[in-house]
């Protein structure tokens, strides 16, 4: 049994990291064991055991007879909030600041414990509004531009489609992030004829402008 003093001193960031890890493991489909958690957090199993007991006392988690762990409602709420903060921050670091995936995730792990709910809401809004800043998807690594900025007969890779609500037909015709496409014909700043999966698709300039692409890497 750990002394009460230690419990009080348990850093809120440690608590949040544990709850978040448990949530992620639960999402993968099974109730985690302390060993799973230690693996996820790369922590010493003995220390994990102590902290889990503290979390049970605090009422965030429960442990089954087989030692497997589940979240209480309070634990679920806290874990969900932290995880959401993590995701918003990571997207912000990647999409807007242009950081690389791993670094963005590490950075988010640090900031997620300190950032306020209000700041997260504002960041979320900024990312969602999209229009102002380019949103490169993880598939792209090169210079990303709007489709109409490219010329004819150049192999391109789709990176993202801005504001994808209402343009489901693009997905159905194969214009999805990661797809290879090519501009076949362009009339001034008017409509664009795109070749995708051996089919030619005519796009209005307003639609073509929503498609972000980069040059296909030369084989």
């Amino acid at each position: 049994m750990i002394p009460l003093v230690e419990l009080v001193l348990m850093d809120s960031s440690v608590r949040e990291d544990y709850l978040e890890a448990i949530l992620i493991l639960l999402r993968r489909g099974r109730s985690p064991t302390p060993v799973d958690i230690a693996g996820e957090l790369m922590a010493d199993p003995a220390a994990v055991e102590d902290i889990l007991s503290a979390l049970v006392t605090e009422g965030y988690i429960t442990r089954g007879s087989d030692g497997r762990i589940s979240l209480t409602n309070v634990g679920q709420d806290l874990a969900g909030t932290v995880e959401r903060k993590h995701r918003v921050l990571q997207r912000f670091f990647m999409d807007i600041l242009g950081m690389e995936h791993r670094a963005a995730s590490d950075e988010a792990c640090q900031v997620e414990h300190a950032v306020s709910d209000d700041a997260i809401e504002r960041l979320r809004h900024l990312i969602r509004s999209g229009g102002e800043c380019d949103i490169p998807a993880p598939v792209c690594t090169g210079r990303i531009r709007a489709l109409p900025e490219y010329g004819e007969d150049e192999p391109l890779v789709v990176c993202a489609i801005i504001g994808h609500d209402g343009y489901e037909r693009l997905s159905d015709l194969g214009i999805v992030p990661g797809a290879t496409i090519m501009i076949k014909r362009k009339i001034g700043d008017g409509a664009i004829l795109v070749r995708v999966k051996e089919c030619d698709i005519a796009l209005s300039p307003d639609i073509a402008g929503l498609i972000r692409a980069e040059r296909a890497p030369t084989a």
Binding site: R27, G29, R84, R87, V88, R91, D95, I135, A137, P138, A160, I161, H164, D165, G166, Y167, E168, R169, L170, S171, D172, L173, G174, V176, P177, G178, A179, K184, R185, I187, G188, G190, A191, L193, K197, E198, C199, D200, I201, A202, L203, S204, P205, D206, I207
Partner: protein
């Protein structure tokens, strides 16, 4: 047991349907939509089979009317065998829809149509291999040449099997789908649809929306996009396994000519002007013949004076309606249908839409709208019917207004008969200019106020091919039958109503009542309004009625140039004819018909009043 043809647009589905069913085809409106669904039956070895042709779609996970219809049919499950028609030359893209449809677990047969065109492109599909992978019978066909079409029904009868598809979905999607499936007791297709925001079940939809929002945050892509990507990857994988690439045959690149501004745009103008020319010349010729028939025995020798005068009024009104209906239907509408069918089948219309997109944007529409707008110059009826090609309700709504304002050949007759004949060519020409300015203004105005969001054009170029005249004739015949069925009852009823009103002297009384208005505001004799009202039956009748009421064919002896000009522009703008309103009602509903009528009446009267007052001031 029902046999259902399903597939992408432009894969030759209708051709196969027509080939299999013969003439006993019924085109019905799917309840609550403007989408047509073709139903026919055929006899095979003494048994009657029911065959349904669904509209071509790219996906069933959409909110469009066609997609909803196809989805509803699939969700019914039960006694159906699906005959999936794929375009072999675009097989990869077609397999995307196949993957969606196959997940419904209905017995299927797969047709690889246009296998000849695929081979020309160097795409050879290993039929045995794809049949093995999908676990269903696969038949390579060439619908245009009728090749292997006789194998379809035997295969669909003897060996329809449930296909095996194994789309590898993203694990978050899989997990979400499993959660939904377990919680709500649904199988895969409804669960995946719900994740994409499509479900009738509010509880399922709410849970699915929460899950897909989470997925979207994790992936930076919507659930819809992820699912689509997974299916495209599946299609790519299967296609790679069954493809044997050969050398493509190189021919002239017609497409390059048709889609480049030079010579594409002059060519487009030439083609569209050619159609108009054919309809104007042959159409007016035929119309003359048909109208001539009505003004000769036996019709002229009907002894109307021996009947009760009311009976005579009704009888001659019915004749008048028949004359108006047949005079429009066969020369103009039928001819147009044939030409448009040919053009549609050739794949050219999509090229024209691509070229015209930018111009059409100014009217709040997209490239596809070029077709109804140009057709309108010939006859508004087929033009309004072709509005259905437009993608959104908003565009169809805007097009309905603009198309009905386009001066059709009948209105050209009025302009020519009133102005070119009595006032001068420049005056006649100025009416066209004025109307086109009004159309542009209306377009700009409507693009601001029309309900719905403006969606851009996303249009697949249909493959260029030689159109089949027999199919075009058959389809035109179906459409003209549809037109006659809607327009004739309306024509007869309104003609009788006008005839009876006239019999009881309603127009004389109206004239008395209108005199201050017509002379005061428009400077016109009151009988001009009677002529205007009869023009609703058939626009040219405005001219004929005016001549009769004026008592002389030399209109310049009773009306001044200003009066002729005012009347011409008023009657051209004033309310479309009954036939146009009938098809408009069919396409967009009664509300649009009322709005269009009110708008055109208002514009017609307002412009006429304006011209009259300007004329007075100048004089």
């Amino acid at each position: 047991m029902k046999y259902v043809l399903i597939g992408n647009p432009n894969v030759g589905k209708s051709l196969i349907f027509n080939h299999l069913t013969g003439l006993g085809v019924e085109v019905s409106n799917y309840p609550g939509t403007t989408v047509d669904i073709c139903q026919g039956s055929l006899c095979y070895k003494g048994a009657r089979l029911e065959l349904v042709d669904l509209p071509g779609v790219y996906s069933i996970d959409g909110t469009g009317e066609e997609e909803r219809l196809v989805r509803d049919v699939l969700l019914q499950g039960g006694d159906q065998v699906l005959i999936f028609v794929a375009d072999a030359s675009h097989l990869e893209r077609n397999l995307y829809l196949f993957a969606q449809v196959a997940e419904f677990g209905l017995p299927m047969v797969l047709l690889l149509n246009m296998s000849d065109e695929a081979e020309k492109k160097g795409i050879f599909v290993n039929t045995d291999e794809i049949s093995r992978i999908l676990g269903i019978e696969v038949i390579p066909t060439v619908a245009g040449a009728g090749r292997n079409l006789d194998l379809i029904i035997p295969a669909a009868l003897a060996s329809p099997r449930i296909p095996t598809v194994d789309v590898e979905y993203d694990h978050h999607i899989e997990a979400a789908e499993r959660t939904l499936a377990e919680t709500f007791g649904v199988n895969r297709p409804p669960a995946l649809l719900a994740l994409q925001g499509i479900s009738e079940d509010a509880g399922l939809l709410a849970s699915a929306t929460a899950l897909s929002r989470e997925i979207e945050e994790m992936h930076h892509m919507s659930a819809r996009q992820i699912i689509a990507t997974n299916r495209h990857n599946y299609a790519e994988r299967i296609f790679a396994q069954v493809l044997r690439r050969g050398t493509p045959l190189h021919g002239t690149d017609f497409d390059r000519l048709l889609t480049s501004p030079m010579p594409g745009i002059p060519l487009m103008i030439l083609i569209l002007a050619g159609i108009l020319f054919v309809v104007f010349s042959i159409g007016s010729l035929l119309e003359g013949v048909i109208v001539g028939l009505f003004q000769a025995p036996p019709f002229t020798s009907i002894p109307w004076d021996t009947f009760h005068p009311l009976v005579a009024a009704v009888g001659s009104s019915v004749l008048l309606a028949l004359e108006a209906g047949i005079g429009i239907a066969f020369p103009f509408v039928f001819l147009f249908y044939i030409l448009v069918s040919l053009l549609e089948d050739s794949g050219y219309l999509t090229r024209a839409a691509f070229l015209a997109d930018r111009t059409m944007h100014r009217f709040g529409m997209h490239g596809q709208a070029i077709v109804p707008m140009v057709l309108g110059l010939g006859c508004n009826v087929p033009a309004v019917m072709s509005i259905r090609m437009l993608a959104t309700k908003r565009e169809r709504f805007i097009a309905a207004f603009l198309v009905t304002m386009v001066p059709c050949s009948a209105r050209t007759v009025i302009i020519a008969g009133l102005l070119a004949a009595f006032v001068g060519l420049a005056a006649a020409f100025s009416v066209y200019v004025a109307i086109f300015i009004l159309i542009i203004l209306t377009g700009v105005l409507l693009s601001r106020v029309a309900p719905g969001e403006q969606f851009g054009m996303i249009l697949e170029m249909a493959p260029l091919r030689m159109p089949n005249i027999a199919t075009a004739l058959k389809r035109s015949w179906q459409r003209i039958r549809e037109f006659l069925a809607i327009a004739f009852p309306l024509l007869v009823v309104s003609s009788i109503a006008l005839g009876v009103l006239q019999f009881y002297g309603a127009f004389d009384r109206l004239s008395v009542f209108l005199t201050p208005v017509s002379t005061g505001i428009f400077g016109l004799p009151p009988y001009a309004f009677t002529a205007l009202i009869f023009g609703i039956l058939r626009k040219e009748m405005t001219l004929g009625t005016l001549v009769v009421l004026a008592g002389t064919p030399d209109l310049s002896s009773v009306l001044t140039g200003l009066q002729l000009y005012t009347f011409a522009i008023m009657s051209v703008l004033f309310i479309p004819c009954i036939s146009t309103m009938a098809v408009l009602y069919r396409q967009l509903g009664i509300k649009t018909v009322i709005l269009v009528s009110l708008y055109t009446i208002f514009v017609g009267l307002a412009i006429a009043a304006l011209i009259h007052s300007i004329g007075i001031i100048i004089a």
